[in-house]
């Protein structure tokens, strides 16, 4: 009893943010153990520790950057283990944790709910538990549909039905969790002219990275009788994140088409260009699957894609980056403040100062971290600036697109990318607040004094 009390006290001293960081560290450790087992490897494969760590962090953070070839490293058992880790990372350790608590019959107390709240960035407690169960159901439902469609369709690509099933299974999980791993050895480039496969993958990617609350609300809307739908109000979060998400997709699509018209897309047919542009724009949100070799794009496209990856996906989704709502809030703040106004309004709702401050913190910290990582990588790596910026943005956005330099990084470089993927996944706020052990104190006030700004 005494010892249990001590252990609980020790855990109690951790902030929710620190516990989440701790859980992710544990997930990486478990992932290392699972993926490091020789029984999961093909014959003759010998992973170094840094390769194993890199693969594990990339899998848990569903980034998809790799220093190894998945298909040359893992046997079928290993691929199942990897899919398990992706699933585990993708829908969030907290979601699975809730599920386990529920199925073992443990009542979910306030403390556990606070944990979940922070990991999925939810800000109201009510209905949290029900939401988490919803999440799991929805994701598995989506993956199941994706698996059935893709593996049936893949029968025309692969010689045996076992191979088609395995490819369909992995592709569905990898797309829905936005993991970006592939067992084709070439991402989606083998399907670059198969619009059906790409279309299914785009749907799966969007469903995974649009944010779970959006899915739950849309589901609720669809399950409501049409004549009662007018009573349903979508949350501000759902409106903002969905709108921002689709604006980013459209902007990325237009930029890619404009910038590559006379370059990568020169001589391609219009429907090829549309699908290349659309898929590549969607994939920068967080997925990291590719139908084209991004290292062949123009430098300006690579810069724009880096910015898009840095922004990333919706919060409460499988994606990373500063997140769509952060970006949207910064833009709306700029437009509001430039017009001389002080209160930020979106969709007839006013934004809390607290949320604006969070958005500012996330954006500026993320810029600092990415600038620092880029500078260190220019010291340790022999590559030009562009691929370094691209790889940094890709790791921070847990996107996993690569200009091809990641496998050739030095050990220091690999560790930096590992840290970026880790921070990108747990989120800047969690990362920042995990250093904060102080209890919130009563705030005192000093006299105010104006200061001259820029």
């Amino acid at each position: 009893m005494q010892e249990k009390g001590f252990r609980e006290n020790w855990l109690d001293k951790l902030s929710p943010f620190q516990m989440i960081a701790l859980f992710y560290l544990m997930a990486v450790t478990i992932s290392c153990i699972l993926l490091g087992m020789p029984v999961a490897h093909k014959d003759g494969v010998d992973l170094t520790f840094i390769e194993l760590l890199f693969t594990s962090v990339s899998a848990v953070s569903v980034t998809g950057l790799t220093v190894i070839s998945v298909v040359d490293t893992f046997n079928t058992f290993g691929i199942f283990l990897l899919a398990f880790v992706l699933q585990f990372g993708g829908i969030g350790i907290m979601t699975l944790g809730t599920f386990i608590w529920i199925i073992i019959g443990k009542k979910i107390g306030l403390r556990e709910r606070r944990l979940i709240m922070t990991d999925q960035n939810q800000v109201t407690f009510r209905g949290m538990v029900r939401l988490m169960i919803e999440i799991l159901k929805i994701i598995i439902f989506i993956e199941l549909i994706g698996f059935i469609i893709l593996s049936t369709y893949y029968l025309r690509y692969f010689p045996t039905w076992e191979e088609a099933l395995l490819q369909g299974f992995f592709a569905s999980i990898s797309a829905t969790t936005n993991a970006g791993f592939d067992i084709t050895g070439q991402s989606l480039i083998p399907f670059k002219n198969d619009y059906f496969v790409q279309f299914i993958q785009i749907i799966l990617i969007i469903l995974g990275s649009i944010g779970f609350p959006v899915l739950v609300e849309v589901k609720q809307y669809l399950l409501t009788a049409p004549d009662k739908r007018k009573n349903i109000r979508f949350s501000l979060f759902t409106k903002v994140t969905s709108l921002t998400y689709f604006i980013l997709v459209v902007v990325g699509f237009l930029f890619l088409i404009l910038l590559e018209w006379n370059h990568y897309f020169a001589g391609e047919k219009w429907h090829e260009i549309i699908f290349y542009g659309l898929f590549q724009s969607v994939t920068t949100r967080s997925a990291g699957l590719a139908t084209m070799d991004v290292s062949m794009l123009t430098e300006q496209s690579q810069l724009i894609m880096s910015a898009l990856m840095f922004i990333g996906a919706s919060p409460s989704s499988v994606g990373g980056g500063i997140r769509t709502t952060t970006f949207a809030l910064m833009i709306i703040f700029l437009l509001t403040f430039a017009r001389g106004k002080r209160r930020i309004h979106i969709f007839r709702r006013e934004i809390h100062d607290e949320d604006l401050f969070k958005a500012v913190t996330v954006t500026i910290m993320a810029l600092f971290i990415c600038f620092g990582a880029t500078t260190v990588l220019t010291i340790t790596e022999p590559f030009p600036l562009m691929p370094i910026i691209f790889e940094v943005a890709s790791a921070f956005g847990t996107t996993g697109l690569s200009m091809g330099i990641t496998p050739d990084l030095t050990t220091t470089g690999k560790i930096i990318i590992i840290l970026l993927m880790f921070i990108g996944r747990i989120g800047i706020l969690t990362f920042l607040f995990s250093f904060n052990t102080e209890k919130k104190q009563g705030e005192y006030h000093y006299p105010k004094e104006r200061i001259i700004i820029g």
Copy 2:
């Protein structure tokens, strides 16, 4: 009468921000006329319009980037005209404007004082007029001392006393206004082993870019009898900007020494390394004079220098960039918010939310503008990413350091750099607010709703 009334009404409709932008545009026009006169040129010189515009904007904004060689283009009369434009730009059109109003006996009304307030970013009206006169006195005093010391000392470098006087005159104005122009043809590289010249220039550069209010307060302090000095309280602005300024100089110095130890500085003596590092760090605040060829530095030094130039000098100084106080506020905000606190305290004073919002606006807008400019330049220019980023940061910070690509830019590229220098000089807030023609309306409130951030 009728017409005068109409004219005044027309001017009244402009916001102070728009008037400042308008005045700077007029200054550029006047500068174009002055520097474009053939009588100011050496024989056989034929400037294109874009070269003339570039030189004028660079001079008015005291940036110092050039697409021409000053010493090969302008004769002695032209050099005096250029020095006049630098002086005009450096101490601010508003300062000179005030002075002219005063000497022609016009009483300074509220409206003119508001103009001045905004240009020099001052936020209290009281004592504004006296401050402006102070500014002019102090700057001319500093330049006079610099001129006497440098031209006397230059007698050992130049064959005639006319040449020494001209060089000393121009060097003193160029350093004090942080213009960064030179008539040696090679910036300060001829004096790279003359620590006396560098020391004098460092002093002049710092005095010009530390911010005028700082100078006024320090002067007041020095003129007060020692036994009464304890009653003098330096303003929050002076404390913040001075501390940030010197921290940036030290950080830049340490980075340069660390990153170039085995590279540019390899084989140099310790006192050479210290002076190279110190001068180059000071010059990134805003001066743009160089004792070494920055294109020969490592990429990581160039990145750090780009960041330092982007931050720039103190507000109410001759420098550009987002300004030291903006940077300091962002950093302190991050540290405060990460510790779970909401009120920002500096030196036992609390910062207004309004000022924090300004800092956020400036930082994020500046990043957008520089990112956009960089992307466009990668399209229009054939140069690698690093020199493009460097040149963009240099223009926005009105620093004027160059990796050497500016003279070879396309016309589009030159126009982009011109716009950056213009925005960097008038400041992001002025630039942003100059689009705002709406009168401030009563703000209405919507219900608040929380949103999920990053």
